[in-house]
C-alpha cells in the first residue's frame, strides 16, 4: 500500500520521526536566536527569518502560481510607509498600522493584478516592474507626504505598543513567528484544492479552466495572501531599522532577491524559500563583510552569477534535491517502524471498470424531454473568413454524436465556442434548456457539466498523474481526501492506476490521451466533448480508447466527438454531422453519412466506398 495516500490522518504518533523530526526543527528554530552572544549573529538569524518570510510570500505567486512578479518591493514599501506615516502623523500603533498597510497594499495589488494577469508571463514581469517604479517616483516626489529621498526617521521609543524594543531578540521572535506562519499557510495551501489549482494554472491555464478552475480568481487570491505578508514584513522592517527611504523599500534588486532565494531553495515548494534564506542570507552577510570592503557591488556580481547558473543548471533548487534524502533519513531514525497514523491504512476496495461509475452525473431532470444540447445558427468569423457559418444541431441525452470534416472545416471552433474559449458572432447555444451562448470564461462552462479534451493534449507536466486527475475531481469535491479517492476511481476506470505517482511529463502519448480523458471525466460532465482522442495512436491503443469511450457512454454521459479515424467514429457514433468550409453539409446515421454524395466528395473520398 502506498504510504503517500494515507499520511493525512487526524491522530499522529508522536514517536514517529515523521512527527518528531519536524517538531525538533521548529524547537531548534526557537532556540536559535538565543544561542549567539554577539548581536551581529542575532541580527544574522533575524535576517534569515526576515528574508525567509518574504521569499515564501513571493513563492505563493511566483512559485505556486507561476506568475513572476518583479514588483513585490512595491507592497513591501507600501507596508513600511503606511505604518510609519500613521505612527509619525497620528500616533497610531504600528501593530495596527501594519494591517492598514497590508490593506492598502492589497488594494493596490488588486488594481495591478486584475489588468496584468491577462498578460503573458514575460510581460507580467515587465508590468510589475513598471508599477513598482511608479510607486518609487511617488515616494520620491510626493515630498509633502513622504519627505522624498530624505526618508523617514522613526524616533526610538521602546514599548510594546510602539513596536520598538531594546535588543534584537524581540524582533527575532516576531520574524520567526511570521516565518512559521507563512510556512503553515504555504503547507495548507499546497495540500488544498486551492494549491492544486494554482499549480495547475501555472502548468497550463487553458486546461485548468476546462477543469473548472477560476484561474483569474485563484491568481488574485494568491497575490492577496502574498501581498499581505510582504506588506506586514515591510512594517516590521521599518520598526526594526527605524528608517526608511524610497531607494531602500522600493528597489528592483529587492524584488529580484526574493526570487533568487526561492529559486535556489526550490520554487513552488513549501520550505524551499526558507532553505534558500538559510543558505543565501548568511552568504550575503559574509560577502558584504568580505567583498564590501573591497568595493560596493561585488556581492551582487556573485548573486547574479549564482542566479544565472541556478536557472540554467539547477532550476529545481535545493528542496528538490533534499527530498531524495529526507525520506531515507526519516526511515533510519528511531521509531520509523511504528505506525505513523494509527487507524490503519484502509485501502479503497478494488474497482473494476464495469463496477465503477465514476463519471455518472446527477440523475437527469425528469422533466427534460427536450434535447440535452442545442446549437442554433452558430456563426463565427475570423477576420473576413467564416470559420463556422449558420450551423445548427442538437444532441440528445445519452447519445454519441460524431463531428467530422476536412481540416479547417471549423470543428474545433465549434468546440471552442461551446466551452467558452470563443464567443460566437451570432447564434445560440443551449444546454439543459438554459442558454450558455456567451458563458465565459471556460471554467463556468465546466461547472455546468460540460467537459472537454484538447486535440493537442495539455497535461500538467510537473504534477503526477493522480494530481492531474485531482484537479478535475476538485471541481465537485472540496476536500483533498475525497478528491484523491474520487481521482483513484477515475484512474482505475481509464487504466492509469499503476502510473498514478509518475509525473505526467513522463507518460507515453497514448497514456497522455487517457489522462486527458480521465481529467475531463473527473469533473463529472453530463456532456463530454472529445477532440481527436485517438489521433496518432496505434490500432491496439485505439481499440482500448474506444472501449473506454463506450464505457463512458454506457454510464449515461452524452458524447460529442471530433475524429478523423473513420473506423472509430463510424463504430462509435449514433449520429454524425459533417462540416465543410464552416457549413454543415450533412447529418445522419453513420450509414447514411458514408453514402452521402457530398460527404464523399468533400471528405471521405471515393475509395471509402470501395
Amino acid at each position: 500500500m502506498d504510504m503517500s495516500l494515507n499520511v493525512m490522518k487526524s491522530s499522529w504518533n508522536p514517536f514517529h520521526p515523521r512527527f518528531y523530526f519536524p517538531l525538533a526543527l521548529v524547537v531548534f528554530l526557537f532556540i536559535l536566536p538565543i544561542l549567539p552572544q554577539k548581536t551581529y549573529y542575532q541580527d544574522l538569524i533575524l535576517m534569515i527569518f526576515f528574508w525567509g518570510t518574504l521569499a515564501a510570500a513571493w513563492n505563493l505567486v511566483g512559485g505556486f502560481a507561476g506568475q513572476i512578479s518583479l514588483g513585490h518591493t512595491a507592497f513591501f514599501g507600501i507596508g513600511a510607509y503606511t505604518s510609519t506615516l500613521l505612527w509619525l502623523e497620528f500616533g497610531l500603533s504600528p501593530w495596527l498600522g501594519m494591517f492598514a498597510g497590508a490593506g492598502l497594499a492589497i488594494l493596490v495589488a488588486i488594481g495591478i493584478g486584475v489588468p496584468c494577469f491577462r498578460l503573458r508571463s514575460h510581460f507580467f514581469a515587465l508590468a510589475t516592474i513598471a508599477f513598482a517604479e511608479v510607486l518609487r517616483y511617488v515616494a520620491s516626489y510626493w515630498r509633502g507626504l513622504t519627505q522624498g529621498g530624505v526618508g523617514l526617521l522613526i524616533p526610538f521609543r521602546p514599548a510594546l505598543g510602539s513596536f520598538m524594543f531594546h535588543g534584537k531578540l524581540p524582533y527575532a521572535y516576531i520574524a520567526l513567528g511570521l516565518m512559521l506562519l507563512i510556512i503553515l499557510v504555504s503547507a495548507i495551501i499546497r495540500n488544498s484544492r486551492f494549491g492544486f489549482y494554482l499549480v495547475s494554472l501555472r502548468e497550463d491555464q487553458d486546461a485548468a479552466e476546462t477543469l473548472g478552475v477560476n484561474t483569474s480568481r485563484c491568481k488574485l487570491i494568491a497575490l492577496i495572501i502574498s501581498v499581505f505578508f510582504t506588506a506586514v514584513v515591510g512594517t516590521f522592517y521599518a520598526q526594526y531599522l527605524l528608517f526608511i527611504d524610497p531607494d531602500s523599500v522600493f528597489s528592483l534588486p529587492f524584488s529580484i532577491e526574493l526570487a533568487l532565494l526561492t529559486i535556489i531553495g526550490g520554487l513552488g515548494t513549501v520550505i524551499g524559500p526558507i532553505i534558500g534564506s538559510f543558505i543565501l542570507t548568511p552568504l550575503d552577510v559574509l560577502l558584504r563583510g568580505w567583498l564590501g570592503g573591497i568595493s560596493a557591488g561585488l556581492n551582487f556580481i556573485v548573486y547574479g552569477i549564482v542566479l544565472v547558473v541556478a536557472v540554467i543548471y539547477f532550476p529545481r533548487g535545493i528542496a528538490g534535491w533534499l527530498k531524495t534524502w529526507y525520506e531515507p533519513l526519516l526511515n533510519r531514525l528511531p521509531g520509523s517502524k511504528l505506525a505513523f497514523a494509527p487507524g490503519g491504512t484502509a485501502s479503497s476496495p478494488p474497482y473494476t471498470t464495469r463496477a465503477t461509475n465514476p463519471g455518472n452525473p446527477d440523475p437527469p431532470d425528469e422533466q427534460i424531454t427536450a434535447p440535452l444540447f442545442k446549437a442554433q445558427s452558430l456563426t463565427k468569423y475570423f477576420g473576413g473568413l467564416a470559420a463556422v457559418k449558420d450551423v445548427s444541431f442538437e444532441i440528445n441525452q445519452g447519445e454519441i454524436l460524431g463531428l467530422i470534416g476536412p481540416n479547417g472545416a471549423g470543428k474545433t471552433t465549434i468546440f471552442n465556442a461551446i466551452t467558452g474559449f470563443l464567443s460566437p458572432d451570432s447564434g445560440r447555444i443551449e444546454f439543459r434548456g438554459k442558454e450558455i451562448t456567451d458563458l465565459k470564461p471556460p471554467h463556468k462552462v465546466c461547472l455546468t457539466h460540460i467537459g472537454r479534451t484538447f486535440q493537442l493534449v495539455k497535461p500538467f507536466n510537473n504534477m503526477t498523474v493522480l494530481e492531474n486527475v485531482m484537479v478535475g475531481t476538485f471541481s465537485r469535491v472540496r476536500g483533498a481526501k475525497g478528491a484523491r479517492e474520487e481521482a483513484i476511481k477515475v484512474l482505475d476506470f481509464i487504466g492509469l492506476l499503476k502510473q498514478r505517482d509518475s509525473l505526467a511529463s513522463s507518460l507515453t502519448i497514448a497514456d497522455r490521451k487517457r489522462l486527458e480523458l480521465g481529467r475531463a471525466l473527473a469533473t463529472k460532465p453530463e456532456l463530454l466533448l472529445l477532440d481527436e482522442v485517438v489521433a496518432g495512436l496505434n490500432p491496439r491503443e485505439t481499440e482500448e480508447i474506444i472501449k473506454i469511450i463506450r464505457a463512458i457512454s454506457q454510464q449515461g454521459i452524452t458524447l460529442f466527438i471530433i475524429e478523423h479515424v473513420m473506423k472509430a467514429i463510424m463504430t462509435l457514433s449514433h449520429r454524425i454531422i459533417v462540416l465543410h468550409h464552416g457549413e454543415m453539409i450533412a447529418e445522419g446515421t453513420p450509414e447514411e453519412i458514408s453514402r452521402d454524395k457530398r460527404v464523399i466528395d468533400a471528405y471521405l473520398g471515393e475509395e471509402y466506398l470501395a
Binding site: 511566483g62 507561476g66 513572476i68 518583479l70 489588468p115 496584468c116 491577462r118 498578460l119 503573458r120 508571463s121 514575460h122 510581460f123 514581469a125 515587465l126 508590468a127 516592474i129 513598471a130 508599477f131 517604479e133 511608479v134 517616483y137 511617488v138 516626489y141 528592483l252 534588486p253 529580484i256 526570487a259 533568487l260 529559486i263 520554487l267 568595493s295 560596493a296 557591488g297 561585488l298 551582487f300 556580481i301 548573486y303 547574479g304 552569477i305 549564482v306 542566479l307 544565472v308 536557472v311 540554467i312 543548471y313 532550476p315
Partner: protein, 287 residues
C-alpha cells in the same frame, strides 16, 4: 509659442530616434527568440563605457567608434545567446526571465566595481555645437545621433527584407516549426538575431555618449523607456518600435516642458499602464 512647439517637436523627435534604436534591438530579440532581454539596458551601459574609454584612452571619436562597437557587440550578443539563452530556450519563462535579470545584475555591478559610480562623458569639439535657424536651436550631436539611428534602423530593415538571413529570421519570428522544416538552422538564427539586437543597442550607446553620461545604472534608466516603447509600438513590430520611440521622445519633450522634467518617468508609466489596459498588443502589434 509656435516656435516653442516646433522646438519641442524637434527635441522630442531627436531624442526619439535613439529610443527607437534601443527599442528595436529589444523588439527583434523578443520577436525572434521570444524572451525579453532584461539586460538590454546594461548592454547600452557597456557600449557607452566602451565608446568613452576608446575616446579617453585612444582618442577615438565616438562616431568612429561605432565601427568597432557594432561588430564587438554583435559578438557579445551572439555569445550571450549561445552561452546563456540557448540552454534554456525551452525552459519555462521564469528561468528565461531570471537568466537575463542575473546578467543585468552582474554587468551593472561589474561596472560599479571597475569604473565606480562616477558620471563620465565625452567632451568633443562638437559637443556643444548647435545649428540656429529662425529662432530654433538644434543640437549638432543630437541631430547626428538622430540621423545615425535612423540610418542604422533603415539598414536593419533592408537587411531583414532583402537577405536570405534576414528573411530566415523573419520566417522564424512568424512560425518556428515551418522555418525549421524549410531547412533554417533556427539556433543559428537565434544567435544572429540576438547579436543584431545587441549590436543595435551597442550602436545606440556609442551615439549617446557625446550627449549623455555613462554610469553603472544608466542602462536601467533607458531600458525602462525601451520597455514602454516596445509595449506602445507592439512587441513584435519593428516599425512599431520606431514609431513608438519617436512618440515617447515627443512625450518626454512635452511633459518635461509643460509638467516637470522630474515627472517624465511617471508620464511614461501612465502611458505604459494605459496601453496594457486598453490595447495589450500595442499600437502596431498583431495579436
Amino acid at each position: 509659442m509656435v516656435a516653442t512647439l516646433v522646438q519641442l517637436i524637434i527635441n522630442g523627435l531627436l531624442l526619439g530616434g535613439i529610443y527607437a534604436l534601443i527599442s528595436i534591438g529589444l523588439t527583434l530579440i523578443f520577436g525572434v527568440v521570444e524572451i525579453i532581454n532584461f539586460a538590454h539596458g546594461e548592454f547600452l551601459m557597456l557600449s557607452m563605457y566602451a565608446s568613452f574609454w576608446l575616446f579617453q584612452l585612444y582618442g577615438v571619436d565616438p562616431y568612429l567608434s561605432l565601427f568597432m562597437v557594432i561588430p564587438a557587440f554583435f559578438v557579445i550578443g551572439w555569445a550571450t545567446q549561445r552561452i546563456i539563452i540557448q540552454p534554456i530556450i525551452h525552459a519555462p519563462p521564469l528561468n528565461q526571465i531570471f537568466a537575463t535579470v542575473g546578467v543585468s545584475m552582474v554587468l551593472q555591478n561589474a561596472a560599479l566595481f571597475f569604473w565606480k559610480a562616477d558620471y563620465r562623458t565625452v567632451r568633443t569639439a562638437y559637443s556643444t555645437l548647435s545649428l540656429k535657424t529662425g529662432g530654433l536651436m538644434i543640437s549638432f550631436p543630437r541631430l547626428v545621433a538622430f540621423v545615425l539611428a535612423l540610418l542604422i534602423i533603415a539598414a536593419l530593415l533592408i537587411f531583414l527584407k532583402q537577405t536570405y538571413t534576414g528573411k530566415a529570421i523573419r520566417a522564424l519570428a512568424q512560425e518556428k516549426r515551418a522555418a525549421m522544416l524549410m531547412g533554417i538552422d533556427i539556433y543559428r538564427m537565434y544567435r544572429i538575431a540576438f547579436g543584431i539586437g545587441i549590436a543595435c543597442v551597442g550602436a545606440a550607446g556609442a551615439i549617446l555618449i557625446p550627449i549623455y553620461y555613462a554610469f553603472p545604472t544608466v542602462g536601467a534608466l533607458f531600458v525602462l523607456i525601451a520597455f514602454v516603447v516596445v509595449i506602445l509600438g507592439g512587441y513584435n513590430s519593428l516599425v512599431g518600435a520606431l514609431i513608438g520611440g519617436l512618440i515617447i521622445g515627443l512625450v518626454e519633450a512635452f511633459s518635461g516642458f509643460f509638467l516637470s522634467p522630474h515627472l517624465k518617468e511617471a508620464v511614461y508609466f501612465v502611458i505604459f499602464i494605459f496601453i496594457l489596459l486598453l490595447r495589450p498588443v500595442g499600437l502596431f502589434g498583431r495579436a
